[in-house]
């Protein structure tokens, strides 16, 4: 895993020859937003690579571009210049259909405000991603129950989101993101609405899945509690990478 040691000091270009080891490589990525008559630069010439199985956090003050970066990696947004390659797909070049397919198969999202579908039960919320993939009934049932087990919610499968606590909702969201066993999970402030106990709870769950399934997790966070678990911290400031450090032995877990 020596590539990690260089990933934060070198540009992705240097590592083209070993691209397969990277799940994500971001190359001279700039994102600007039109604001009034001019443009606001939210990300400025960002170069980054993420390897398989990382448990990385994007940290930085509010407005530093964490969410923007996650959205581009998740193909919900497109680069202004430069590109991000996610599992070999160039985000800048994806058609809406291809990007939907990429998200559906390979990327799990966890949002600060959970974003569960209110009319669906816990079970159905988790099942939704698999329905989109047209997974056969038996395999689906098995995968959903397994995912609910991971997050410890098997007894709540028939509840609706409105009947759950915040921590439980976020665990459903984790199950929904994980049920399809995606290569990458993107979590934007997943613990912001949770108390300390619940935060540790879901982080431990995610860390466990990260180890077991080799899923790459990328967080955007301010939360000290989250940072204890991270194996790598990328600090952003004003849309630029300020610091990129590996943590060989995370404090928790």
């Amino acid at each position: 895993m020596h590539f990690r040691k260089y990933s934060y000091i070198c540009t992705a270009k240097v590592y083209d020859f070993m691209d397969t080891e990277f799940v994500i490589s971001i190359d001279s990525l700039t994102k600007t937003f039109p604001v009034g008559g001019s443009f606001f630069t939210a990300l400025n010439n960002v170069n980054l690579v993420f390897g398989k199985g990382e448990f990385t956090g994007l940290v930085g003050p509010s407005g530093s571009g964490k969410t923007t970066l996650l959205n581009i990696i998740g193909s919900l947004d497109t680069p202004s210049t430069g590109d991000a390659s996610v599992l070999g797909h160039s985000i800048a070049k994806l058609t809406p259909k291809e990007s939907a397919e990429l998200r559906n198969r390979n990327i799990g999202f966890i949002f600060q405000s959970y974003n569960l579908l209110p009319v669906y039960t816990v079970y159905e919320n988790v099942e939704f991603a698999l329905l989109l993939q047209k997974t056969p009934v038996d395999a689906r049932r098995k995968a959903v129950m397994e995912a609910l087990e991971w997050v410890g919610l098997t007894d709540k499968e028939k509840s609706r989101p409105s009947q759950l606590s915040g921590g439980e909702c976020q665990r459903v969201a984790i199950a929904r993101a994980m049920v399809k066993r995606p290569a990458i999970v993107l979590a934007d402030e997943p613990s912001a609405n949770l108390d300390a106990k619940n935060s540790h709870n879901i982080l431990q769950t995610m860390r466990k899945l990260n180890k077991e399934l080799k899923t790459t997790f990328i967080f955007a966070t301010h939360d000290e509690k989250v940072m204890q678990y991270l194996t790598r911290i990328v600090s952003l400031r004003d849309g630029e990478i300020e610091k990129d450090s590996l943590i060989e032995k995370p404090a928790s877990c």
């Binding site: 998740g74 919900l76 949002f111 974003n115 579908l117 009319v119 329905l131």
Partner: protein, 386 residues
């Protein structure tokens, strides 16, 4: 399938607003079906009665005859041609002779038509067999005529007519019977006499003004110089009348439909606005924007599907009850074939038309606001930002 299931779940989950839309749509649906049911029912009955009482399955007219111009009657008669004799004899064709006359009920004077009909005919429902007895000149009138002249069965009344030479003659006749029919054109202003008696009275032996055909009569073209008139021609006024009613029904339906569609449109616009975060979530989960548009369009369309189902649930007993008791008609127009109670007839085709219209229009109206989804910025939508 997924989209279908999700859309149904969403609208069931949406509560009151859904039921409001469903209620308005299903009300429109049931009104549409029942209104058309009454029109169809009335039309069928009008056709049936007109055929039974007046037109038969078709007619052969003397070339001079025009049913809307009494002055043609003077010349519109001729002897039965030999080619038609067989049909008259086997009962598939019956001659009617018409002449102008005047009746004097209680000293008043009223212009009427004297119509001669064969007492043995089986084609029309007019009870002509009551004219069979000889002796006195007996006549049949309809109930409208009886009312306007204040004549009762057994009354005697003076009539006057011109014979073929234009000479006036007058006689007292006996009202042998009064029949009741929904067809005013064989009733109001006319007196039915034995065909042979009328021929004698006018000096027109063996003559007729037109022939009425039974269903079995094979004559479907002009014959021996007599002009064939088919049933469509003879019932054109009924068609014109129902067409008018259908326009009226279409206007009412359009208004109701517009209200219902406005409610659907409003709901859809609002829901796309309010559920931006949900839309973003669908897209983050891997639905294409196109599919989400499809989902929201289906949601709007589901209102109409539910409305049709609901319409069947509450409409069926209601419409069945309408069918049983009918609708009491005020006496409006004496010239229209209409009973005092109108019974609806629900045609599968008009029910299907109503369903297709409601579903398709709802689909279009739901699609319009849903198109905006494609233009939404997913990232903002996910934040639930406006």
């Amino acid at each position: 399938m997924l989209v279908l299931k999700t859309s149904f779940k969403n609208i069931i989950g949406a509560g009151k607003r859904t039921w409001l839309n469903v209620a308005v749509l299903s009300f429109t649906f049931v009104i549409m079906v029942s209104y058309n049911g009454f029109i169809d029912g009335w039309q069928q009955e009008a056709y049936r009665d007109t055929e039974n009482w007046e037109t038969g399955a078709g007619q052969l007219w003397h070339p001079q005859y025009d049913r809307f111009d009494v002055f043609t009657l003077q010349d519109a008669h001729a002897a039965i041609p030999s080619g038609l004799r067989t049909y008259v004899d086997n009962g598939t064709l019956t001659p009617i002779l018409i002449t102008q006359g005047v009746i004097y009920p209680q000293g008043r004077m009223q212009n009427i038509l004297l119509k001669g009909i064969d007492p043995k005919q089986q084609i029309l429902s007019i009870p002509s067999q009551e004219l069979a007895q000889t002796g006195e000149i007996s006549a049949l009138i309809g109930s409208r005529m009886a009312e306007s002249t204040a004549l009762k069965k057994g009354d005697r009344v003076m009539i006057r007519w011109r014979d073929k030479n234009g000479v006036f003659d007058a006689r007292e006749i006996l009202i042998a019977g009064i029949f009741s029919t929904k067809v005013p054109s064989v009733d109001a202003g006319q007196l039915w006499l034995n065909l042979n008696t009328l021929r004698e009275m006018t000096g027109m032996p063996d003559e007729a003004t037109y022939f009425v055909e039974s269903k079995d009569c094979p004559l479907k073209t002009d014959a021996d110089g007599w002009l064939y008139k088919d049933i469509d021609f003879l019932t054109a006024d009924i068609k014109a009348m129902t067409d008018g009613n259908r326009v009226e029904s279409a206007v009412i339906f359009s208004i109701l439909m517009a209200i219902a569609l406005l409610a659907v449109f409003d709901t859809q616009t609002l829901s796309i606005f309010r559920r931006r975060k949900e839309i973003g979530t669908y897209i983050a989960l891997g639905m294409t924007p196109k599919r989400v548009i499809w989902l929201f369009t289906l949601e709007g369309t589901s209102f109409s599907v539910l409305a049709v189902l609901a319409g069947f649930v509450w409409g069926t007993p209601l419409l069945w009850w309408f069918g049983k008791v009918g609708m009491k008609m005020p006496e409006i127009d004496m010239n229209v074939v209409m009973g005092d109670t109108m019974y609806p007839s629900y045609e599968l085709s008009s029910i299907l038309t109503a369903i297709v219209l409601i579903v398709c229009l709802s689909a279009i109206i739901s699609y319009l606001p849903a198109r905006k989804i494609a233009k939404q910025n997913v990232v903002n939508a996910l934040k639930g930002k406006l």
